[in-house]
């Protein structure tokens, strides 16, 4: 007996590229989109800071006549002025530039250096791995903040030294993460299968290791920027980061300490700026993690 289906083609599914499916899953995560939106606004404000305020006039030069103005929409200072008469809003958005710049740059440097070390150790194994990891173990035994403060202690305060301290202190953690990632991938059966087919090293690295390792790496990097912003502001707060009069959220809080009782807004506002940036980055990092490997989601 023959039937209708004799000549019918079986249905196939259209394949989405990996990047597309990651973005598709990310878009569905509302919190992650909120984080992205928040970060976008912050970057926008930081980049277009000159449109809102002049660096010299508003953020840096002192104007004793305008001291301690309360925040209001009427007097042209929506976040008020500080004890030197500087516009707080201007200082916050220029401060954002510093946080984002130092945070992003230091993480990129740490990630690049850490990835190189970690992937060499993970991929080649053996003695190379052993020596590198002994070194990393010692460095990892020292908490990141202590390592950073030691470097700042040696080099002195200032933005450039801060950048060096943040970059170097972040390298051990990235090497550890990347090494673990590479080892994990290397031991999976699809890599074993590729080797069994005669695939050479370079191709394995390019087609198998890198695509699988890069996802977790980006997630870690995003979360690392969040931590970096907290560290940068902490170091500046204790006077070991960016030097005055450069506006930075942490040093703004340090200066506001003595005015806490009478002018609480000077303490509240920069703190909220830090908190919002970190929340945004954490939401994005978590969202990326869920989008890249949905199996990890609860």
């Amino acid at each position: 007996m023959s039937g209708k289906n004799d000549n019918k083609q079986v249905t196939t599914y259209k394949k989405k590229s990996q990047l597309e499916s990651i973005w598709f899953r990310y878009k569905k995560n509302r919190l992650a989109m909120v984080g992205l939106f928040m970060l976008a606004i912050m970057i926008l404000l930081a980049v277009s800071a000159p449109l809102f305020a002049d660096y010299q006039k508003d953020a840096v030069s002192q104007n004793m006549k305008l001291r301690y103005l309360e925040p209001s929409f009427v007097n042209g200072h929506i976040f008020g002025t500080d004890h030197y008469g500087r516009d707080v809003f201007a200082r916050v958005i220029y401060g954002g530039r510093i946080s984002l710049f130092v945070g992003l740059t230091s993480v990129i440097i740490s990630a690049l250096a850490g990835t190189t070390i970690g992937s060499v150790a993970g991929y080649y194994g053996g003695r190379v791995d052993n020596t590198l990891m002994r070194l990393m173990d010692v460095l990892l035994a020292i908490p990141q903040n202590l390592l950073a403060i030691s470097i700042v202690a040696a080099l002195g305060p200032g933005m450039f030294n801060l950048l060096i301290a943040m970059s170097v202190s972040g390298i051990p953690e990235f090497s550890r993460i990347v090494r673990a990632s590479v080892l994990n991938i290397k031991n999976q059966e699809f890599v074993e299968a590729a080797v069994a087919c005669g695939t050479n090293d370079a191709r394995i690295i390019r087609k198998y290791i890198v695509p699988n390792a890069i996802g977790p790496l980006i997630v870690q990097a995003t979360l690392a920027v969040a931590k970096a912003i907290l560290s940068i502001s902490a170091l500046s707060f204790i006077g070991l980061g960016v030097s005055p009069p450069t506006p930075e959220w942490g040093s703004m809080l340090s200066e506001a300490k003595s005015d806490m009782r009478l002018y609480p807004y000077l303490v509240i506002i920069p703190g909220i700026a830090i908190m919002l940036s970190v929340v945004a980055l954490n939401l994005i990092g978590d969202g990326l993690r869920d989008s890249i490997d949905p199996r990890l989601k609860n």
Partner: protein, 308 residues
């Protein structure tokens, strides 16, 4: 089992040595001559050389490092450039404050963080869960020093409930302890929650349910015990973060602990003090991690049996 402990403890020594080497190296990059700082620019070269020898600053790098290690093993960490007192004395004076703060801190983290994390996981998707997760995220995103300042503003200045500085009574420790432990609590809530959720998704939970076990029995007997294993390790990490965060908390609340010693030491370029204090904290953290690892090996039956 004893062999395993001894092996781990012995492996600690090269790491401690390594830590001291790294810190020593970094801090000897300091530009500027400490002798000039102490004696001033007008001192004669002979006087400078004499002081240099006295402080152990003569000789090449490795000579100095070697000398440092030998002295350290005898408890001699040099003298503070600022106060002239032996560094070991300064350390000893400060350790109790930091110690007290950390113990209270980790106590709060465990007693509050774990239960909230568990409840949040059991009641996943409920309002309580969402509030806890959101709260944990926000608190973990706050800068520690800002939290400290806000607490001072509210509880010291406005409500006058707790003092902002000093170490007189137990009241002095309340705000710093809260500040110190807040992020730890937030982290532990998130980690406990995700560990519980992971544990509850396992197949053996389904087996337990198929036996006729009720929710309480499943949670306590099956999910919880399995979930708490990785938490032990996380508590160790938390402690480490808390110790290194002491720098900030002690500065905000003007507490005379190891953390604020490091901060003032760095500001005043008092290198011997900084080296010793940083090494001390790093070593303390390594020891704590070692203890945590050993505890974990003992309580996980899968690892314990491989030791036999």
């Amino acid at each position: 089992m004893l062999k395993y402990f001894c092996k781990r403890v012995i492996m600690m020594f090269p790491i401690i040595l390594g830590i001291s080497f790294i810190i020593f190296s970094i801090l000897n990059l300091t530009p500027g001559d400490p002798v000039t700082i102490i004696l001033g620019d007008t001192a004669t070269p002979e006087a400078k050389e004499a002081l240099r020898e006295q402080l152990g600053l003569n000789g090449g790098f490795f000579v100095r490092y070697f000398r440092y290690v030998i002295n350290a093993l005898h408890g001699n960490f040099g003298q503070s450039y600022r106060s002239g007192l032996p560094v070991i004395e300064e350390l000893m004076a400060r350790i109790p404050v930091t110690f007290r703060l950390s113990i209270v801190g980790i106590g709060i983290v465990i007693c509050i963080g774990i239960p909230i994390g568990i409840i949040s996981a059991i009641r996943q998707y409920s309002l309580l869960d969402n509030v806890c997760v959101a709260g944990a995220l926000i608190i973990a995103s706050m800068p520690v020093f800002w939290l400290g300042l806000m607490l001072i503003m509210i509880f010291s200045l406005k409500l006058n409930m707790f003092p902002a500085t000093g170490t007189g009574t137990w009241k002095n420790y309340v705000l710093p302890a809260i500040t110190n432990s807040a992020i730890g609590v937030a982290t532990l809530v998130r980690m406990t929650r995700s560990s519980m959720l992971e544990s509850m998704r396992q197949d053996y939970i389904r087996t337990a349910k198929a036996k006729g076990a009720g929710e309480a029995g499943i949670v306590i007997k099956h999910a919880l015990k399995n979930a708490l294993l990785p938490i032990v390790t996380i508590i160790g990490t938390n402690f480490a973060i808390m110790l290194s965060g002491a720098m900030i908390t002690e500065t905000v609340f003007a507490l005379p602990g190891l953390g604020s010693l490091i901060v003032t030491g760095v500001r005043q370029k008092d290198t011997p003090v900084v080296i010793a204090a940083v090494i001390f904290i790093a070593v303390a953290i390594s020891v704590i991690n070692l203890i945590v690892d050993i505890i974990y090996t003992i309580i996980d039956p899968r690892l314990k049996s491989t030791l036999r």
